[in-house]
Amino acid sequence: MKSCEYFEELCSRYLEQELSAAERLEFEDHLDSCPSCRDKLEDIRFIRQRLKKLKPITTTADFETVLRAQIQMSKHIGWSKVWPLPAYLRWPAMGLAAALLLFAATFLFQRDHSSQWFPRLQPATESFATPSNPTISTGNIFYSLELVPLPQRNVRDTGKPRALERQDLEGVPGGKAAHDSVQIVEEAREKAKRHIRTVSF
């Protein structure tokens, strides 16, 4: 003997005449012996008819006017509103934007602090300064990329940077001459800085 739950599963198929002849017969036999299922089926039949008779509603009179205005507006508010990201992409997109901003900020920060990774612009004039010709002209300054960190900084065991001193280069072939040259370069750079206007790229 099949349960009422089994026949409940067949209700819609019975109402929509999708049962096979054998299933239909079995279903109707059950209905004959089960008033509860019979009532349920009648209720469902009634509800379906009632749902079809629900009073339809209509749009308000200004619906199309408002729609036209919205379309016009959407043409002027840019792509972010016109193609809004789906909800599941919003947070990753914001995260990516934040990461890009962070990277850009780091890049700018590093540019101001000499680094091999982020070379900065240097006045090319310093390459012309030598111990024999310590004076340079600041009237016509060109810029070149500084590819190598200048040797005036050195990090000792303390981890703190300090100025490279002349005696540090004791025993280094040409070291003292190089130090003197760097000093001249530094002086020339300081001098040059006072004459350089801000250049934007």
Partner: protein
């Protein structure tokens, strides 16, 4: 249910209209709006249970059709495509509402569905069952169904779509649609039983 408001057989089909719109004919879009605004409004209204919100969702549906007109491909029926858009927007609205309700319940300790409570004053055994089962009562009981039952019963029993069309709109297998429709009907019957017993 095909070409919902196409009464004149000589008028262009929905698919012809959207193609013309894709080629830049704005009047074709206006015709689409005229054809679909009321059937879609009723679908959305039965889904969300609020006419103002339904109209807002309908506006958004047409806006999406306007903006994404080139996303439509003729392999699908236009009615399936537009109902899918409207259904997705209506479901999103219900999810938002559920979140708001959860927040309000946790914040205030009150039930937001209070409006749906049915007063006993509405019962009148003297009345005919049709008048007992007011549209509002039916709508209230539809609103109590879970969204997955609600959408199938609206599409099948109110909008009279075929099982195949519902399967395409909801992107679920036909078998799932059929069993969902049956369960939704049984659920609604059990909810409306107290009114029907007074027949």
């Amino acid at each position: 249910m095909t070409n919902v408001a196409r009464n004149d057989p000589n008028s262009p089909t929905d698919e012809e209209l959207i193609e013309r719109f894709q080629q830049g004919d704005i009047h074709a879009f206006e015709q689409i709006v005229k054809r679909y605004k009321d059937p879609l409004l009723n679908f959305i209204y039965r889904f969300v249970g609020n006419q103002e919100q339904a109209e807002d969702i309908l506006q958004e549906t047409f806006l999406r059709v306007y903006r994404n007109r080139h996303a439509y491909r003729r392999v699908a029926k236009f009615s399936t495509w537009i109902y899918t858009i409207a259904g997705n927007l209506a479901r999103t609205e219900l999810r938002k509402r559920k979140r708001r309700r959860l927040l309000s319940i946790s914040d205030l300790g009150v039930e937001e569905d209070k409006d749906y409570e049915v007063s006993d004053d509405e019962f009148n055994p003297e009345q005919h069952v049709d008048s007992l089962l007011h549209d509002e009562v039916i709508q209230r009981e539809i609103n109590k169904l879970s969204p997955k039952f609600r959408e199938v019963i609206i599409l099948r029993d109110i909008q009279e779509f075929s099982y195949e069309e519902i399967s395409k709109i909801l992107r679920i297998p036909i078998g799932t649609v059929k069993s969902r429709v049956n369960r939704a009907r049984l659920r609604l019957q059990s909810q409306l039983k107290k009114y029907l017993d007074k027949k």
